[in-house]
């Protein structure tokens, strides 16, 4: 694996305001992830794992004071405009959530294509053919070729999560951010999905940042970090 960091977060703070009360969640967390690396973030519930992931994915911004920094391939996310931030989300990262978050009105195929539609907006019309075939290939990798016209409600949890992963990959991102991707699945299905993720990652050279509170799941990564009291604590390489 290459040793250059694709994303580098340093000393980031995130405080939520609840009425007049400040709720500090991240208090100077730092994390550096190399290209092609699989990092597992472990932590107790409420420790701020999802918050960190949202910040890395450009879905939210960290506190201005004290100022931290998140650099993606050398570009400072904090300084990006809203439009550039949208582009960052649609091109460079893909999100996978614990509860799949598929759009219930759309079919499996349309859900996967939604990412491409958002990215290209009107340009999508001319790319439609290529996108449909790319979505078809992705769904084939996850064994869902027969389910293209189905609605999410007609799928099992594992199948839904596979659709969600395919959706996150449609725009060929550099980083996949997975927030407890197996948290809602039984161990067997969870492991199968982790196997597939591992396969996709190595075939595409994808960087994978995965949040989990399950130590066994966390061990699937190259490296494991723990989030405690709003800072990234003990770091242990898992590959020996």
């Amino acid at each position: 694996m290459s040793q250059s960091p694709i994303i580098h977060a340093k000393d980031i703070h995130k405080t939520y305001r609840l009425g007049r009360v400040d709720v500090p969640v991240l208090r100077g967390a730092s994390l550096s992830v190399n290209t092609g690396e699989w990092v597992s973030i472990l932590g107790a519930s409420g420790s701020g794992k999802s918050t960190l992931l949202h910040l890395l994915g450009g879905l939210d911004r960290c506190d201005r004071k004290p100022a931290g920094s998140i650099a993606f391939q050398g570009t400072e996310l904090v300084r990006l405009s809203a439009g550039a931030m949208n582009r960052y989300r649609s091109r460079s990262v893909g999100f996978v959530f614990q509860f799949y978050h598929l759009l219930p009105e759309l079919t499996v195929l349309e859900n996967v294509l939604a990412g491409a539609m958002v990215r290209h907006s009107f340009g999508y019309l001319s790319l439609k053919k290529a996108m449909v075939s790319r979505a078809g290939e992705l769904l084939e990798v996850f064994g869902l070729s027969e389910r293209l016209k189905h609605r999410p409600a007609e799928l099992s949890g594992g199948e839904r999560q596979r659709v969600a992963i395919a959706r996150a990959l449609i725009n060929e991102p550099d980083i996949l951010l997975a927030d407890e991707p197996t948290g809602n699945l039984d161990t067997l299905t969870g492991n199968a999905i982790l196997d597939e993720l591992a396969k996709v990652r190595s075939s595409r050279g994808l960087t994978l940042i995965m949040v989990t509170h399950d130590i066994a799941t966390a061990r699937r990564g190259d490296r494991l970090v723990e989030l405690i009291d709003g800072v990234v604590g003990e770091q242990s390489p898992l590959v020996t």
């Binding site: 918050t51 949202h54 994915g57 879905l59 939210d60 809203a82 439009g83 949208n86 582009r87 960052y88 989300r89 649609s90 091109r91 999100f95 959530f97 978050h101 759009l103 219930p104 939604a114 990412g115 958002v118 990215r119 907006s121 959706r167 725009n171």
Partner: protein, 502 residues
């Protein structure tokens, strides 16, 4: 939910469009009907009338703006119907052919052959569909206001002048739901409390007409009554006319009103020309017979297509001035004679209808604001329901504008669907408004359109494409405006919070 929003749009556009079509159509009918009923301009001098109208007519006819002209007498009278009822009526003396050139008299003659049944008559029950020759005969008699008098031996005695009655006047015609008439069998009540059925078909019966000849001061000279055969009946669709007007052949009415051409015997003193002598001395030599010219109370004029009534009115004034110059003192002065268009004659009513239309439309447009509010509420709820999905789409990289435009486009679609439904619905209602109204009257006992109030016996059933376009585009715009506020809310949702939303 979205269907509900579309339905609200549909109902509001329907409400506004149906009202506009009916009220606007009513106004158009009011304005148009004038042209069909009295032509464009009426030159009138009531009571004693004016002479040399043929000459005036010729002068008018020679003008490039004038399509046709017709002499007419208008007066009041009393009609005795076959069942003994008497009704006060408006009597119009006309020459059938010339009257038909200025107005649409031919089309209004009711008893004439009908080649195919009315659209509203699926079982071909209309009498006029059979006995073609009989109705053709009736039609000719109606057009000439003349009926042959046959004696007991079946011999033609003479052609006699006849009348044509408004279809609603006698009360013997029953209007069927499909809009055609059939002679009914009404009851006649006697003084002793008994009642009997009277079976009459007006064009086969006679009526008695009583009129009051008036002098030029409006004083009554003499009451004249005379029996006439009924040649036909007419239906203009203007309830007032169909209920109150009797048409009669012009010469017959001139005779009754003493407006006919009369010979006057004048003795001219051979020694002193220009001096009239008293009638006692008529047997002596030197007498001269002159004619007192026939008179009418009105001349009606129709413009050549392309000239409007107001232009024609001005032209008629000029022509009348020349006419007056030829008959100085014998005809009413140009400054005194009454020239009026249909709109002049019905100005109060027409302007009232115009104002009322505007008022009702404004009111309904305000009511339609509730539909906009409804869309705001419905979209607000839909945005709330879709909060998490909005978060997901933001996570996929969508911008705020992108989110807002999704909802705006959704609003646009709902507006389009709603307006389309509204357009179809109101078109169906407007074009079928008379059968619907008839059904409401029969089944529910609701009668909104009372012909005696609204003038026309049928409700306007035309839809103006321009009006429809305005209302439907308005419906679409209103939906987009209604969706705007919820769209803004959707756009400004915090994506992280939206994703946590359950």
């Amino acid at each position: 939910m979205p269907l509900l929003a579309a339905l609200a749009v549909a109902l509001c556009t329907t409400m506004v469009l149906v009202t506009w079509s009916v009220m606007g159509g009513f106004l158009d009918m009011l304005l148009d009907s004038g042209r069909n009923l009295i032509g464009d301009v009426a030159i009138t001098w009531p009571n004693s009338g004016f002479a040399y109208y043929d000459e005036l007519g010729q002068m008018l006819q020679d003008d490039e703006m004038v399509q046709a002209w017709a002499p007419m007498i208008e007066t009041f009278g009393l009609i005795s119907l076959p069942d003994g009822r008497r009704e006060t009526v408006m009597v119009k003396g006309i020459q059938g052919p010339s009257y038909a050139r200025v107005t649409n008299y031919k089309d209004t003659l009711y008893w004439q052959p009908l080649d195919k049944p009315l659209r509203t008559d699926p079982h071909s029950e209309d009498w006029r569909l059979t006995h073609h020759d009989l109705w053709e005969n009736r039609y000719e008699q109606g057009l000439s206001l003349t009926e042959p008098r046959i004696d007991r031996m079946g011999q033609l005695v003479a052609d006699e002048p006849a009348v044509v009655l408004g279809i609603e006047l006698s009360g013997f015609n029953i209007r069927k739901a499909g809009g055609w008439y059939m002679p009914g069998v009404p009851r006649k009540f006697n003084a002793d409390g008994t009642e009997e059925a009277v079976d009459v078909f007006m064009p086969n019966s006679r009526i008695t007409l009583t009129v009051l000849p008036l002098d030029d001061k409006g004083r009554n000279i003499d009451v004249t009554a005379r029996a006439f055969p009924v040649a036909n009946e007419f239906r203009t669709g203007l309830y007032d006319l169909d209920k109150n007007v009797v048409l009669i052949r012009l010469d017959a009415l001139q005779n009754m009103l003493k407006l006919h051409e009369a010979q006057r015997v004048i003795k001219v003193d051979a020694d002193m020309p220009g001096t009239e002598l008293q009638p006692e001395s008529f047997d002596q030599p030197g007498e001269v017979l002159t004619k007192d010219p026939a008179r009418v109370t009105a001349v009606i004029v129709r413009a050549v297509d392309g000239f409007d009534a107001i232009t024609l009115k001005a032209r008629c004034r000029e022509i009348y001035a020349k006419f007056e110059a030829r008959h100085q003192g014998d005809v009413p002065a140009q400054t005194a004679i009454i020239m009026s268009t249909w709109e002049d004659q019905n100005r109060t009513m027409i302007s009232a209808v115009k104002k009322e239309t505007a008022l009702v439309l404004t009111l309904f447009s305000f009511i339609s604001l509730t539909a906009v509010m409804l869309i705001v509420v419905i979209f607000w709820v839909m945005v709330a329901e879709k909060t998490r999905d909005i978060g997901v789409i933001r996570a996929l990289g969508a911008s705020k504008t992108g989110i807002a435009s999704i909802w705006l486009i959704y609003g646009l679609c709902i507006g389009l669907v709603g307006s389309a439904m509204g357009g179809i619905l109101s078109y169906t209602i407007v074009t079928n408004i008379n059968p619907i109204h008839e059904w409401m009257g029969n089944a529910l006992g609701i009668t909104i359109w009372d012909p005696s109030v609204y003038y026309f016996s049928s409700i306007p059933n035309q839809m103006d494409a321009f009006h429809a376009a305005i209302v439907l585009v308005g419906g679409v715009l209103a939906s987009v405006v209604g969706a705007a506020l919820p769209s803004l809310r959707a756009a400004n949702l915090d994506p992280v919070r939206a994703l946590r939303f359950e």
